[in-house]
Amino acid sequence: MTSQHPAGQARRLLRPVARLWQSDLVWSFRNTPYAVVSLALVLAIAVTALCAHWVAPHDPFDLASFNILDSELPPAWVEGGSPEFILGTDTQGRDVLSLIIYGARLSLLVGLASVVFGLVLGVGLGLLSGYVGGWVDALVMRTADVKLSFPAILVALLVNGVARGFLPPEMHGQIAIPVLIFSIGMSGWVHYARTVRGIVMVERRKEYVLAAQIVGRKGWEVALLHVLPNTMSPVTVIATINLATAILLEATLSFLGVGVPPTEPSLGTLIKVGSEYMFSGIWWVTAFPSLLLVVLVLAVNLLGDWLRDALNPNLQ
């Protein structure tokens, strides 16, 4: 390496970025308005949620900070509202805006974590199943069948019940979220496993895999180095759509009483609690979290849709 002109070096460093910018995927993205809007929304929500601590006007976890006498204030622009609480307050006197910011954070956290959990489990099992085949495959796939006979809600209810049963009651408060992540993740792994297995069954007969075997790679090296990366596009698509489902499932589970605790509300819990007030005129308690959830789920789904179309060679 001879000494390089700094500008040349910068150009060299920027080249991959430029290539990425020019790549089909990014090009398709740039030219799909709904994808751009969706991503912008998701990012905006994610960033706001991530910075909840700095962004939110109030801290809904600071019990000392809210006053029961402020409860059920309507949004600021409605008569009786207070400018201090732009979107009004809930029945506890907590600021709805802050609640949904923190709620979105928790929902995203639970959603992402459960997706990652389901993904790692599902991709791992799918890879194993597809690559090893034989009885391992049979075992994994039959397990998947059994799992499928228990739809997501049931699995979550079960896992939750078991976790609460096995662990001492003192721990219930702390385990609520991990249990939630685990149970939502558990409900999603089959999808990944089946997809990855399907791809692996195709890929492992492809010549580049044979070539790696002939070159002398061990089985697991071939599986991890060669096969795994080639299953990632569909997995990404599933993960995106799964994220939306996971966020919704979390909301549904809180309806069944096994969601996150109401003191640290997620969007789902907020909606669940708020939905009880649907007829009573305190609409803002449920309307705003619902709106945010709809926007979030819709944006993530649209992003998934776009990704699926963009990664599908047949559609180009």
């Binding site: 000392a64 006498l69 939905s275 007829f279 009573s280």
Partner: protein, 528 residues
Amino acid sequence: MQWMRTTGLSALAVAGCLIAAPASSETLRFAASGDAASLDPYAYYTTFTSGFLQNVYEPLVRYDETLNFEPALAVEWERTSPTTWRFRLREGVTFHNGNPFTADDVVASLNRARAENSPYIVATSAISDVEKIDDHTVDIHLDGPYPVLLNDLAGVLILDREWMEANDTLRPVNPSKGEESYATTNANGTGPFMIESRRPDAETVFVVNPGWWDEPEHNLDRIVFTPIKSAATRVAALLSGEVDLIMEAPLHDLARIERTEGLKVLSGKDLRVMFLGLNQGAAELNASTVKGRNPLSDVRVRQAIYQAIDIDALNQKVLRGLATPTGILVAEEIQGYDAELAPRAAAHDADAARALLAEAGYPDGFDVGMDCPNDRYVNPDQVCQAIAAMLAKIGVDVNYTSSTKSIYYKKMLSGGADIYLFGWASTPQLDAYALLNSVMHSKDGSKRGKWNPGGYHNARLDELVEQIQVEIDMDKRQEMISEAFRLHKNDYGTIALYRQPLTWAAKQEIDALQLADNKIRLWWITKN
């Protein structure tokens, strides 16, 4: 003892049944959150089930509109010895199937209630024997002096012996052994209504018992009951006119219901008094970073918690002003209530509370766990969260857990909860003894202190409770009860909060009498 209240004269009653019921053809549709667990009066010992069934079955003694005793299937009673009571039974009463009501039915019913598997053994444990004297007289023999027999008997409904024999249901069933009982799905009482059809958890239809011995004050001829678990749906059903009356109307929807033309809210005070239990007996708290000592063992800390709670704000905001703050754990209607003890023990005063904490050695407060059920009581979650916020203001940092009742009970009863929300209705006996015995008496492993997992202990109080159990002089008994309550109050053994509100909602044309025991008495409902 003289004959007690002999108001409802049998002659009049017989006449009443001969007169045709008020001309009407009204159907009442009502809904509650759950269904009766069974049609068998002795299968489950829960308020809703017994309230539901007393429209079909009747006890020997029932409560009148002011929750005082009045004759039902017994017309008069007297204590013939310290351990024997004699009951004269009403004549001319028939069961829905036409069988006449006699002493045999009372003997068989009480024996069934006392049988091995029966949950009603609690309400009949004082009885040692039931003896038929003649067709319309029975003697009830007791193990020892027992002041609240009538209270117990008011909860025991009478079945038909022949019917039980014919259907092989002389004793209550054990579900785990796969036993089914005819009585679970069929009913044959003497009450004002008969079950026409029933699909558990879906719909129960009552029709009028034309042969009822009492004079009907209702104008219904058909009642359709539907359990609707979801509160929102229950309200929706009322708002859309699909039902005439709902029990357990959610507080936050009451305003909306009142605003709606043609609807009204029926609210009252429930017998149930809500309070916070405190884990004061343990060496350390479960969910606290304070180790080596238990802050709640210190009465100053307990008082501080008491004073931190702004009960009026809680009532106004969370309970819509419908609750009744109180300083005593029983309602006025309960035998043993003492009006002197009803005021709050100390006023809401956060500064004082902080000072108390500092005095007790917690100037910066401490952290503590708190558990509440989320599917029992009125607005439990909101109440607890509001309390947690109030405690936070004096530096007590609450780790709040809300869970479904089965999990909550398991944790709470095992002593796993530091602060827990709990309520006691003193039903069905309407007497303070059970509360004193179960909640205030220290835990002794078997019979006493069962619901005192917080480990409150006061030797004098324990002693009093044991005396109250057998004291039959009602004045002396009341004195002892008052003393026990006073001790408990001064110890801040629990944090008494309020009498729970009782909220029904109905169409304007419904007139219903709502009693504090939250049991629906269909025979007092009219629809215009």
